[in-house]
Amino acid sequence: MEQLLLLLSWGDKGWGDELAAGAAITISLALATLPFGLAFGLVIALMHRANSKILRGIATIYTTIFRGLPELLTLYLVYFGLQIGIQKTWAAFGLPGRLDMPAFVAGMIALGLVLAAFSSEVWVGALNSISRGQREGAFALGLSKRQTFRFVILPQLFRVALPGLGNNWMVLLKETSLVSVIALPDLMFWTGRANVVTKEPFLFFGVACLIYLLFSVSSAAGLSALERRFSRGFAAGGRR
């Protein structure tokens, strides 16, 4: 038992500091992906509701592809695809040496593309839930299309979209574990390394699971607090 605790301690002998560093990367990757994925998802959602048939078609194809592909496959495609693409352009310009794709950026792009596809569904649902009268009212007040979106639609959108976006966040948090396969030293990567060195797989993967669980449970608590805060003007909904 003491030996196991020693393995989890800080410093040279233990893996505690490595695991913490990995967990920090996991969290930062998820946080870095979130704004980009959500914003892009909102753009896709607006395209879904556009008048142009072409824009709608593009949005549908986009969501069909990125919702249907395994996240692992998307990650490999982005990582290797961009890697090869960058090196080809690098060579085409006749530049010396080679430029490598940072794993963090590849992970961020891949997870962001997937998050955009899934969150766009949530955004579409939220946009549909805002009644027509809101737009008509804004129009009657003489607000431009842009102003209507910024000051009337968007503030109401978050409240409706929040539960769905919260789910997206929880999924994203767990999906980050996949980036360990492109050698990004996240939590999963370090536990794998610790397993190879110490031959204590159950301990380390168990600890990794518990850390992910901690993230999920605290996210869930944070999200419900956020939901309460966002719907504080809507006590009439029944549940507080």
């Binding site: 592809i65 592909l69 496959l73 929880m170 767990k174 999963m188 993967f205 669980l213």
Partner: protein
């Protein structure tokens, strides 16, 4: 030339032609994994939901803990925990006669996938059962039905109709998540594709795999939609 070499031949991509057979075999393994885990997971998940709703409180809390764990941690970590962690308990597993099971990557993956999807499906079933109106219970009781047939013949059929759509989603999610099996040495579609890429360094194998996954997922989605419309047709009648 075998049938599985034709797609690559038609596309004019050597790598897809060379590894086509491996990839289609991999696709078979993927489908096998998904069918086994989602099928067994449905039975287990339904049992968990019933225990959670009607069982004694302490057991209900254990079920909640189970679903929280499996829904709150990444599938990849779970698979590694079972596959690598199982090896650590080899003597115990050997005496129990379970070692042949946990030694095999396929069984480990199928086992973990089953536990994982059961947790998600338990939540689906729980919500569906709870969505059945209380009046249905009361009416059935008033007719003198006993608890067991009441649940089986009145509540469950109505709950299953509500559960159809989320269950279809879960099936699609498992098809996608099963790609994780390639990380514990299995040559499912993803594993075969990784092998093909490592040897040929031709990115088009990944695009071919993507097309196959999309084909499967879209087929499931459409067939499921049709099945759902057919099964609930008496509700849509206007």
């Amino acid at each position: 030339m075998k049938w599985c070499e034709y797609p690559g031949y038609w596309l004019g991509v050597e790598a897809i032609q060379n590894y086509g057979c491996r990839m289609f075999t991999g696709l078979g393994l993927t489908l096998q994994l998904v069918t086994i885990s989602v099928g067994l997971g449905a039975i287990f998940g339904l049992a968990l939901a019933i225990v959670r709703l009607y069982g004694p409180k302490p057991i209900g809390m254990i079920v909640t803990g189970y679903t929280t764990f499996f829904r709150g941690t990444p599938l990849l970590a779970q698979v590694f925990l079972v596959y690598y962690g199982g090896g650590q308990f080899r003597p115990t597993l050997e005496t129990l006669g379970l070692w042949t099971f946990f030694r095999d990557a396929f069984f480990c993956a199928a086992f973990t996938f089953t536990l994982n999807t059961a947790a998600y499906q338990a939540e689906v079933f729980r919500g569906a059962i709870q969505s059945v109106a209380k009046g249905q219970w009361e009416a059935a009781e008033a007719l003198g039905m006993h608890r067991f047939p009441l649940f089986l013949k009145v509540i469950l059929p109505q709950a299953l109709m509500v559960a159809l759509r989320p269950l279809g989603n879960e099936l699609v999610i498992m098809v996608k998540s099963s790609a994780v099996a390639s990380l514990v040495t299995l040559y499912d579609l993803m594993g075969a594709t990784r092998l093909a890429f490592a040897r040929s360094f031709d990115l088009s194998v990944y695009f071919f795999a993507a097309a196959l996954y999309l084909l499967i997922v879209e087929t499931i989605r459409r067939v499921w939609d049709m099945a759902e419309r057919r099964l609930t047709r008496h509700l849509h009648h206007a």
